[in-house]
């Protein structure tokens, strides 16, 4: 169909890349909260899920933001404008339930701000008052601050080390916002599992309904393998079809985090192999240059 060409590529932060990809079919159908699965080589490549950060159905592109954490994301980051992504499947997952709730607080941690962006945008468009809390470890790791500021009625920035905005974790402003009267009608928290877990713990005593978006290991992304399963309210659910969004107060985050680490040893090995390959390639280039 379309050829999944990378139209534009930008480095957003250290180890964080943004790519705009030509994918008219996906751009046409996608809704906030949905994701794609991509694969860089149809023979031996792995399939990884990435949430769609933005899309333009008329221009036919989708925006993906990713952190270079493993073998495939490293290879993805090495692609240049004009290069193709071999396989791109989507949009997958159940779209976010958007309606006029009243006031919505959107909390994004690290790279999680990217998938949060279309949700915040849609919540705003549906007539909600949107408060955005963006957090990162340090100033250089903040992503999509500008587009989020543009959407927010109220914007709070925090970093763990205080290098930008307020010093501290996103749960602190979240607790303050929940303590206000009236309290927010909905919280949406997207980020590392541990952050989502603590956001859910923060909102629980205030009984603020809290949606989280889970990014588990996936294979097919269509409900066929069950590799993405999580325990929600004591029941097994498949993130790729029943999710990726669930009631944060019901998710068994500890089990989810354990499952996410299932292949850590393998990832580590692949990562090292990949760095080794890069080092060898660099050496070879240096040699060629010298020759």
């Amino acid at each position: 169909m379309s050829d999944n060409r990378i139209i534009e590529k930008r480095q957003l932060a250290d180890e964080v890349c943004e790519i705009r990809v030509e994918a008219p079919l996906i751009a046409r159908e996608r809704q906030p909260g949905q994701f794609v699965i991509l694969q860089l080589d149809g023979e031996f490549g792995e399939r990884i899920p990435l949430t769609i950060a933005d899309a333009d159905p008329d221009a036919g592109w989708i925006l993906l933001v990713f952190q270079t954490v493993g073998h495939t994301t490293h290879r993805l980051a090495a692609l240049q404008e004009g290069d193709r992504i071999a396989h791109l499947l989507g949009p997958l997952g159940t779209p976010t339930h958007i309606e006029r709730f009243g006031s919505v607080v959107c909390v994004g941690g690290g790279i999680g701000v990217a998938p949060l962006h279309p949700i915040a945008k849609a919540m705003k468009a549906a007539g909600n008052r949107v408060t955005v809390v963006v957090g990162a470890r340090t100033r250089d790791l903040i992503v999509m601050e500008e587009p989020m500021r543009a959407i927010a009625d109220e914007f709070v920035l925090c970093t763990d080390d205080g290098s930008a905005g307020r010093k501290g974790l996103v749960t602190e402003p979240l607790a303050e916002i929940c303590a206000r009267a009236p309290k927010p009608d909905l919280a949406v928290a997207i980020g590392p599992p541990i952050m989502m877990k603590f956001c859910a713990e923060t909102t629980r005593p205030f009984a603020v309904p809290t949606v989280v978006s889970l990014n588990t290991i996936m294979v097919d992304g269509t409900g066929m393998c069950g590799g993405c399963r999580v325990t929600v309210g004591g029941r097994t659910r498949f993130v790729c079809v029943d999710g990726p969004e669930f009631d944060g107060h019901q998710v068994d985050f500890d089990n989810m985090m354990q499952r996410l680490n299932a292949y850590k040893d393998h990832e580590q090995a692949a990562h090292e192999r990949c760095h080794l390959d890069e080092a060898i390639a660099r050496k070879e280039r240096d040699h060629e240059r010298q020759a």
Partner: protein, 499 residues
């Protein structure tokens, strides 16, 4: 199979030489006396260290000897047992006569995928079940090996390079969408394209072939054989679109209403793994068979150096279930280097739905069978990884209304087996994606799409077949449904063109 001394090729040649001059006059008694030909196979000790096909196929003389065992029964009970009614006595006779080209032509009148069906059909419950030879010898395993002969003919054709794509009639300008690319869909694509209609096949995965690619392992069904069927479709002008999930990338209704397709066939299979809903099922190290097999087959995880997708190489692996899926998972675990593979099944071997040959191969490969046992819960350590399974013993109770003795739990019979990997292979439900995103379409309470005798659904212009209609079934039934649906689609398009 491997413990009997096998006759040498020279023995077979000698026997064949004595029989061939009188091949048409042989008495039933003489035919039955011809030794049933064993399937040559890779020795168990070697094959557990590779992914190559286990069953190697009959040599030419063996095939003719096996074919000479057929009594050419007038009432042909074998044909009644074949879901697509292949003229079995005729093709078997052609092999006995040495005319393999004729044999394959006869098979192909009814079956589009003989190289595949010859390998994976459960012949012992179909064509070979009521074979007169097997009945006379009081052992279904001594029936004429119709499946192996089918495979022989199909392999002969493929290897001789004579496989030509079927002829395609002039373009009609009509468009048909086929969703999924399992055996049902491949059959529809071929039969509809032959009539000159444009066919586009949409597959969610990055590679077409359905379960035959992602589920059934290479050692049982070489992927090159499935790929050849797909290449044939391409040569016929079928357009194959991968990475396209109908219901998400495009709604089914939009295919008809906006994209100009005149008819749609849904062949999306039974891809929703069942779990047991027991404690510990979400621990690290517990997999559905679908995930385990997909990682190994489609994602090539068995090829550790080359593949990016990891797979758990467990040392002590438990596989829960007794069907083909369970055998495939257990035998894959052996090949991935497990020290011990345990198959845990609630009933007895007699009730196992797996093909007899797979059960025999699994045993030869050292898989330990725990029959009349069931896993009650899965236990983990503090890091959430599997460490053991708790089993419960069963015994056969009194016969129920159907005369079958049901397994009943033996109270307080729990015991623990140490395991680091558990593969759940207790079956699949229908893939819910299309029904969920197509509210117009009628489904039954198991989520299967409801069709009439022509495989028409409740939506005009939409047909369905294979596992999405039947529940987890077989390749041959999927193919049979595909043929019916294709005939109905061709009929619809013919009628519409007339008016």
């Amino acid at each position: 199979m491997n413990d009997k001394p096998e006759p040498s090729p020279e023995d077979n040649r000698r026997l064949l030489d004595t029989l061939l001059p009188r091949k048409d006059e042989l008495k039933a008694r003489e035919r039955i006396a011809i030794p049933a030909q064993p399937m040559p196979a890779q020795p168990a000790r070697e094959r557990v260290r590779n992914m190559s096909e286990v069953a190697l196929g009959y040599a030419h003389d063996q095939a003719r000897l096996e074919a000479l065992r057929c009594l050419q029964c007038k009432n042909a009970p074998c044909v009644k047992g074949c879901p697509v009614a292949i003229d079995i006595p005729a093709f078997v006779k052609a092999i006995a006569d040495g005319d393999t080209a004729d044999a394959i032509a006869i098979i192909k009148r009814n079956s589009l995928l003989p190289a595949i069906c010859g390998r994976v059909c459960p012949q012992e419950t179909q064509c070979q079940l009521d074979c007169t030879v097997g009945k006379s010898l009081k052992d279904v395993e001594l029936s004429v090996s119709i499946g192996r002969l089918e495979r022989f003919a199909a392999d002969w054709e493929r290897e001789s390079g004579r496989m030509l794509p079927p002829e395609v009639k002039p373009e009609t300008g009509r468009k048909v969408a086929v969703i999924g690319s399992g055996p049902a869909s491949l059959t529809v694509a071929a039969d509809v394209r032959r009539e000159g209609h444009a066919v586009t096949l949409f597959e969610a995965f990055h590679k077409p072939g359905g379960v035959m690619m992602y589920g059934i392992p290479e050692f049982r069904l070489p992927k090159a054989i499935v790929q050849l069927e797909i290449d044939t479709l391409k040569a016929m002008g079928v357009r194959i679109v991968t990475d396209y999930v109908v219901g998400r990338t495009r709604k089914l209704k939009d295919l008809l209403e906006r994209d100009g397709f005149d008819a749609v066939f849904v062949g999306t299979g039974a891809g929703l793994p069942k779990f047991m809903n027991i404690e510990g099922e979400n621990l690290v190290g517990v997999f559905s068979a679908n995930e385990y097999l997909t990682r190994s087959n489609l994602m090539r995880a068995y090829d550790e150096g080359a593949a990016d997708t990891p797979i758990r190489r467990g040392r002590h692996v438990a596989v829960l279930g007794g069907g083909n899926v369970a055998m495939d998972a257990a035998r894959t675990a052996v090949r991935l280097g497990a020290d011990e593979v345990h198959l845990i099944y609630r009933r007895t071997e007699k009730e196992m739905p797996a093909r007899i040959e797979e059960v025999a191969h699994a045993k030869e490969e050292g898989i330990r069978f725990h029959l009349l046992r069931n896993v009650k819960r899965i236990l983990g350590d503090e890091t959430g990884r599997v460490v053991s399974v708790e089993c419960l013993k069963y015994e056969l109770g009194p016969p129920d209304d159907s005369g079958r003795r049901r397994p009943v739990e033996i109270p307080n019979s729990e015991y623990v087996l140490p395991m680091d990997t558990v593969v759940v292979a207790i079956g699949n439900d229908s893939n819910p994606l299309i029904p969920q995103t197509t509210p117009e379409m009628e489904t039954n309470r198991w989520g299967n799409i409801v069709v009439n005798e022509n495989n028409r659904t409740s939506m005009p212009g939409v047909y369905a077949g294979g596992d999405i209609v039947l529940g987890a079934a077989t390749v041959i039934l999927a193919m049979g449904q595909g043929r019916q649906a294709a005939a109905a689609i061709n009929e619809q398009l013919r009628e519409e063109t007339k008016s």
